[in-house]
C-alpha cells in the first residue's frame, strides 16, 4: 500500500466537498434511505482500518421502513406507522409469494424477485426486522447481509469496488469514500435495474444533424 504524504488540503476543497455532497444527494437513486456514516471497515473484521487512512462508508437505511398513511386525522395530519403496528396482531401467511392474493394492504406492490416468498426475507416473528435463511434476525440497516446470501458474486465484486457506485476519494490516504448500498440501486421487490431515458447528448461530428452544415456540399 502506497501512502503518499501531502501537505494539507487546499482551502477550495471545503467548497468542493459541499458541492460533492450536493451532487451525491442529487445522484441518489430513488430510495428513502438516509446515508449513515458507518464505515465498512467496522463491519469487516478482515480489514481493520489503518491509521492515517480514511474510511469507506457504505450507505445504509436508517432503520426499518415506515408506511405513510393514506388517510388523515380530523386535524388533517397524516402519519407513519411501523410494520409491527399491523403485523404484530396478524398471523403471517408463510406461503404467500405475491401481492395478488392480498386484499387489504400492499396491493399495488410489484413483485419480481425470483420465486421468493415474502417471508423468505421478512421476519414473521419480528416484523420490524428481516431474517436470514437460517432464521436468524437481521436488521433493516444490515440488509446487505441478507442480499449477500444469494448474491455472493455481486457481494464479492462490491467489496472490491467492481459492483455498485461510489463517490469521494480513490486514495483513502487523502479522504473517505462513500459507496452505495444494494437497495440504493435495486428495489428489493423488483431488483432488476430500471430502464432510463437518455438525457444529455453532445453535438459532435458523429451526430447526423451536423452533416447539414458540411462545407463540402
Amino acid at each position: 500500500m502506497v501512502v503518499v504524504c501531502w501537505d494539507g488540503t487546499p482551502p477550495r476543497d471545503n467548497q468542493r466537498r459541499e458541492r460533492d455532497v450536493l451532487a451525491q444527494s442529487i445522484s441518489t437513486v430513488p430510495s428513502p434511505i438516509v446515508a449513515q456514516a458507518i464505515s465498512e471497515t467496522e463491519r469487516k473484521s478482515s480489514a481493520p482500518s489503518e491509521p492515517g487512512r480514511h474510511a469507506v462508508v457504505v450507505r445504509r437505511p436508517d432503520g426499518p421502513p415506515l408506511i405513510e398513511l393514506a388517510a388523515t386525522d380530523p386535524q388533517g395530519r397524516s402519519g407513519q406507522v411501523a410494520c409491527s403496528t399491523c403485523h404484530s396482531v396478524r398471523p403471517p401467511n408463510l406461503a404467500n409469494r405475491s401481492s395478488d392474493s392480498l386484499d387489504e394492504f400492499h396491493q399495488g406492490l410489484t413483485f419480481n424477485h425470483g420465486t421468493l416468498a415474502c417471508y423468505a426475507c421478512h421476519n414473521p416473528e419480528q416484523s420490524d426486522a428481516l431474517r436470514l435463511a437460517d432464521g436468524s434476525v437481521v436488521e433493516y440497516r444490515d440488509v446487505m447481509t441478507l442480499c449477500s446470501q444469494c448474491h455472493a458474486a455481486q457481494a464479492t465484486a462490491f467489496r472490491h469496488g467492481a459492483h455498485g457506485g461510489m463517490n469521494g476519494h480513490w486514495d483513502l490516504s487523502r479522504g473517505p469514500q462513500t459507496k452505495n448500498n444494494c437497495i440504493d440501486c435495486h428495489d428489493p421487490h423488483e431488483p432488476s435495474y430500471p430502464k432510463m431515458i437518455v438525457g444529455f447528448k453532445p453535438r459532435d461530428r458523429f451526430l447526423k444533424d451536423e452533416t447539414k452544415h458540411d462545407d463540402h456540399k
Binding site: M1, V2, V4, W6, P10, R12, D13, R16, D20, A23, Q24, S27, V29, A153, A157, H160, G161, A162, H163, G164, G165, M166, N167, G168, H169, W170, D171, S173, R174, G175, Q177, N180, C185, Y193, K195, M196, I197, V198, G199, F200, K201, P202, R203, D204, F206, L207, K208
Partner: protein, 320 residues
Amino acid sequence: MTTTNDPSPAGDGGGDRSLPVIANPSRRTAVKGAFATLGAAAFVAAVSPLRQAAQRSSAAEFMQSHYKRLTDEDKRQVIARLEAEAKENHGVEVEIADDRPIPNTKFVYAINLSVCNGNGKCVEACHKENNHDRSTGQSYIRVLEMPKGTMDMEQGNTTYSGVVPKDDKFYLPVQCQQCDEPPCVDVCPVKATWKEEDGIVVVDYNWCIGCRYCEAACPYHARRFNWKQAEVPAEEINPDQSYLSNRIRPVGVVEKCTYCLHRTRRGKLPACLEACPTGARVFGNILDPDSNIRWILENKRVYILKEELGTKPAFFYYFD
C-alpha cells in the same frame, strides 16, 4: 573586334566599362521599386493574422515557453495571468492549480459493460466538470450503442435516444484510453502533448498549434478540437481548475480527457465515475496491489479496445 577574351562591350564613352543595364538606371530602379512594393504588401498581408493574434493575446502569452520548460516562478506568473484572463473574459474567480503526478501512481480505468446502460450521465458530468462549450455540448466521452456480438467501434451509434438499455444492444463508453504507446503523442510536430509519470496524456493548450494531427492519429476518436471559444455561463464554470486539465481552453487547440487530473491527482474520483448511476465505472492505481482495479484485472473477463493496434491502453472493459 580583335580581343576575343574581353567580355565587356566596347563603350562609346571611352573609359565606361560598366554593364549596359546599369547604363539604363531609370528602368532598373522602376522594376526594383515595383517588386519591393509588391513584396512589402505581400509581407503585410501574410503577417496580418499574427497582428490580429497579437491583439487577442498578450505579449506574455505569445512569449510563453513550453510547460516543461517553465520554472516554478514562470508557472506562478502564467497561472496568475490565466486566472486574470478568466476573470476578465468570463467574469468568474477561478483557481488554476498545477497538479503534478502522485509518486508511485499509475491511473487506470475500467468499465463494466455488463452494467453500463448507456444513460449518458457520464457524458454530461464530463461536460460540466471540464468547462466544455455549452452550445456544442462538447464532452470527452462518447457512448456508442453497439449491436451485441461485436466490439467493432464502426458499428456503434452515438445518436441513440429514448429508453435504454435496448434489448439487442450494449453500450460502450469511449474516452481517452491514456495509452502507454500513444499515437497522438508520436505525431505531434511541436511536442505539445506528452505522457506523464502517472500515465495521463496531457496537452499544453498554450503550446498546441492546432494542427489536429493527434486527433487524426487517435484510433479511439478521443481528442477534440476547439472550433470556437468555449462559452460557459459564469455561474456554471467549474472554478476548480488545473493548468493541464479543465481550465477554459483557448480557441483553435486540441483537448482531451485527463482522467480529471485536477481531481484524481488530489485523491478524488473522476467526475464521470461519480456521476455513473449504474456503478459501471472503476478507477484506481494499478500499482497498488490492493486496488479495485487490480482485483478486476485478476478476477474478471477483461477486454481492451483495439488491442491489435498495440497502443497499450490504460483503460479496460470488463464483464460480469
